[in-house]
């Protein structure tokens, strides 16, 4: 197996992974360190790239948790992480959504972030979190029920 093109991989994935790592560590500097560690491991290891999203997000999560040591309590709303997509700039409810996400339990936040915001399937989210897809779907459903009561339609 040849070496992975790290520069191409970085350009394709680094911003999404960094954002997710910030969401996990709640600290941009820690997330940058974790991102560097992740790419060093990708450069020297044999990454399994048959499902890059699941693989990279899982590796990113593991590295972010390792670097962070424990979760910090900085709210997502303060990190300016949630933003409208480039193709939907007129639907900016990012502050409201971030505040609502901050009220959810961490495991439900991860389900919403990875499925709804990052676009991973339940199966992929399950691989990232190391839990069955059904459990992810359940967490997501519970999270949406709560979010509906907190976010204005």
């Amino acid at each position: 197996m040849g070496d992975v093109d790290i520069a191409a991989l970085y350009d394709a994935w680094a911003s999404r992974l960094l954002a997710y790592m910030i969401a996990v560590t709640r600290d941009r500097h820690l997330a940058e360190d974790a991102l560097q560690n992740l790419f060093v491991k990708l450069a020297t290891g044999r990454p399994r790239m048959d499902d890059p999203a699941a693989y990279l997000f899982r590796a990113a999560r593991n590295e972010a948790l390792r670097v962070a040591g424990r979760r910090r309590e900085t709210p997502l709303a303060e990190l300016d992480l949630v933003a409208p997509r480039e193709d939907a700039p007129d639907s900016d409810r990012s502050v409201e959504l971030a505040r609502a996400l901050d009220r959810l339990p961490p495991e439900q936040v991860e389900a919403v972030v990875l499925h709804a915001l990052e676009g991973l399937s339940f199966r992929e989210v399950g691989e990232v979190l190391g839990i069955p897809a059904d459990t992810v779907a359940s967490r997501y459903r519970y999270a949406l029920e709560k979010l509906r009561t907190w976010v204005s339609p």
Binding site: L18, A43, L81, P84, R85, L147
Partner: protein, 108 residues
């Protein structure tokens, strides 16, 4: 707009460009170091495979012929006078001869 639609119109945003050079430099350095380590291990393995049989070969070979000059010197020393340290010096002189251990001590 439903909540799910609203969530779908948002994403997590962070710019990884400011740390691109740092991260790629670290990754390239790690990859170089790994290649060097692998190369060193390969060279060491080849050297071991090449040298190990030679050691057995020499070890089992017949002892080399003694150095006539050293033999003469030893004879002279013996003839000159009785010397309590003579045996030790001779032994040391023989030990310092080149060749594998079996060849060095073969004549003693």
């Amino acid at each position: 707009m439903s909540l799910e639609e609203s969530l779908g119109r948002h994403h997590l945003r962070a710019d990884a460009a400011p740390v691109r050079a740092r991260v790629l430099d670290a990754a390239a350095a790690a990859r170089r170091e790994q290649r060097f380590r692998r190369l060193t291990l390969a060279v060491a393995a080849v050297a071991l495979v090449a040298v190990a049989p030679l050691n057995f070969l020499f070890d089992g070979a017949a002892p080399r012929p003694r150095d006539p000059r050293l033999e003469r010197e030893a004879d002279l020393l013996v003839e000159r006078k009785p010397d309590p340290g003579l045996h030790v010096r001779l032994r040391m002189a023989l030990v310092l001869r080149p060749g594998p251990p079996r060849a060095r001590f073969a004549g003693q």
